[in-house]
């Protein structure tokens, strides 16, 4: 019996650690392949336009990811502006209207929305916005992404508000304050880190999504700030250039992966975790 036990234990360690090994392998690959490209092209990577497909015929092209970086920020910004008010208020509904059927339904909807395949948002927004507007755009992409971020923000907000003990909320009520004043002023300092942490997690999730943007955000070699223009994003660029046989485009896919993971997503998650630590009381 003890021998069998040790065998199983060893197996668990091997399986678990190899899963983590693969994770480190993925992160390592991004670092090893992406960072040199970023260093090679330097600051130009963040300011230059994306090289056009026929660059070979026009001498040395300028190499950059600026349109994809700006596009990612635009799309995320639009998604954030839409999903924060809806997600936050839905979270308040779910957490604070405990006994109402509407709150139960809202919770059900939010936890279902989280599970909907993200490409769905891309297809739906394509029919809803891209066709009537005759053009993909940052706006359409942002709206598609917001559908993915709303349930995250709602659920994180609800969790955070639920964690505040009822006696603390009653303490505020007993001072003759309205419930809304208690929620948004008295316990603000208590819930803010948790809510911000949730929003950052949602942003990290949104920043990496490509499926909802493939058919909604379009593609743009140049930087634009017009939300009705097509934009490229880092995630879509990784996909489109990833299949290419051109060495330069593959390099750009690595660089985009590096920026996406190490410059955008991991810092967002790190800040989010620190926030949650602070939130514990």
């Amino acid at each position: 019996m003890p021998r069998l036990y040790k065998l199983w234990l060893a197996l668990i360690y091997i399986i678990g650690l190899s899963a983590l090994g693969v994770l480190l392998w993925v992160l390592g690959s991004i670092l090893v392949n992406g960072l040199p490209v970023v260093l090679k092209y330097g600051i130009g990577l963040f300011t230059n336009n994306i090289p056009p497909p026929m660059f070979l015929f026009f001498g040395k092209p300028e190499v950059g990811l600026a349109p994809a970086i700006v596009g990612t920020l635009m799309v995320i910004g639009i998604a954030f502006a839409i999903s924060l008010p809806i997600g936050f208020t839905a979270g308040i509904l779910i957490a604070e209207f405990k006994h109402s059927k509407i709150a139960e339904l809202a919770e059900e909807l939010a936890s279902t929305l989280v599970e909907v395949p993200t490409i769905t948002a891309g297809i739906s927004i394509y029919w809803l916005l891209v066709i009537p507007m005759h053009n993909p755009s940052a706006l359409a992409g942002g709206i598609a992404l917001s559908l993915i971020m709303i349930p995250y923000i709602a659920i994180y907000t609800a969790e955070t508000y639920r964690k505040v003990p009822m006696v603390v909320k009653e303490g505020g009520l007993a001072l003759g304050l309205k419930y809304s004043t208690v929620l948004f002023k008295v316990i603000r300092g208590l819930v803010l880190p948790g809510v911000i942490s949730g929003v950052l997690m949602a942003l990290a999730k949104g920043a990496g999504e490509a499926a909802p943007l493939l058919f909604t955000a379009g593609w743009n070699d140049k930087v634009t700030l017009n939300p009705l223009d097509q934009v490229s994003t880092l995630s879509v660029l990784i996909y489109k250039f990833g299949f290419s046989s051109q060495e330069l485009w593959r390099e750009l896919s690595w660089a985009a992966s590096f920026i996406l993971v190490f410059v955008i997503i991991l810092p967002l998650i790190a800040i989010s975790k620190i926030m949650v630590k602070k939130h514990e009381f």
Binding site: E170, G171, L173, A174, L175, V186, I187, G189, F281
Partner: protein, 252 residues
């Protein structure tokens, strides 16, 4: 319209789900007294107390019927938050706002109700409230400290200061010493006697000795029914009801 009673309760009934927790209770609480509601745990005394400032509003399973007047005002005629502005409350377990400083805990009520014009006025309110709650001497040097860093007894006195900073007409206390040690309990009881000068206090306790020590009037509740009510001296020395006698002698 002002009344000579701080609180009048008329045929109050409270049901929680299917359970009839408070059965047809009527009470009158004279002004500037300490009115104790005593009874064994589970008798419904906290339930009664929480109906006075309509805290049950938030819980749809709790049904309250009957009349309650605060200083002659029908509580059902005014909004819950207006009512609670007049009726302060201290809870069973200390519940200061853990993320705020001592100062902010006391100041938040006056601040959000905009009761002052200048910062100095607020400082004065805070100092007054902390003194009344017998906490000032212990915290005056470090008002910026987080409330969660205080001891349980200090936190409870902070909650008293927070409540009285709004100068309510009535102060409700729901077994305020149940989570405290002997020394903290003694200090808290002292501050309650002091507070009587400015406020009417209704205190719920399961400890008849405490009721005897600090209250002017006492009501004995058993199983949701009002068994006996009267001046504390009378109830403790000449109880009219057999059950009351047993209870004050510690036999229930």
């Amino acid at each position: 319209m002002s009344s000579k009673y701080a609180i009048e309760i008329e045929s109050l009934n409270i049901k929680i789900g299917n359970k009839h927790v408070i059965k047809d209770i009527s009470l009158k609480v004279p002004k500037n007294t300490v009115f104790a509601i005593m009874g064994p745990s589970g008798s419904g005394k906290s339930t009664l107390l929480r109906s006075i400032n309509k805290l049950w509003d938030l819980y749809p399973e709790v049904k309250v019927s009957g009349k309650i007047y605060i200083d002659g005002i029908d509580v059902n005629e005014i909004e819950a938050h207006e009512l609670r502005r007049m009726v302060g409350m201290v809870f069973q377990r200390p519940n200061p706002f853990p993320h705020m400083s001592i100062y902010d805990n006391v100041a938040i009520g006056p601040r959000l109700h905009k009761l002052y014009k200048k910062k100095e006025e607020l400082d004065k309110i805070v100092e007054w409230a902390l003194k009344k709650a017998y906490l000032w001497d212990e915290v005056k040097d470090d008002l910026k400290r987080k409330a969660s860093k205080l001891s349980g007894g200090q936190q409870q006195r902070l909650c008293i200061a927070r409540a009285i900073a709004l100068k309510p007409k009535v102060l409700l206390m729901d077994e305020p010493t149940s989570a405290l040690d002997v020394v903290s309990t003694k200090r808290l009881e002292e501050s309650i006697v002091e507070l009587k000068k400015d406020f009417t206090i209704v205190i719920v306790t399961h400890n008849p000795q405490q009721a005897a020590r600090i209250s002017d009037y006492v009501a004995f509740i058993y199983n949701g029914e009002l068994i006996e009510v009267g001046p504390t001296k009378d109830v403790f020395t000449r109880p009219k009801h057999e059950l009351t006698e047993k209870y004050v002698l510690g036999k229930v």
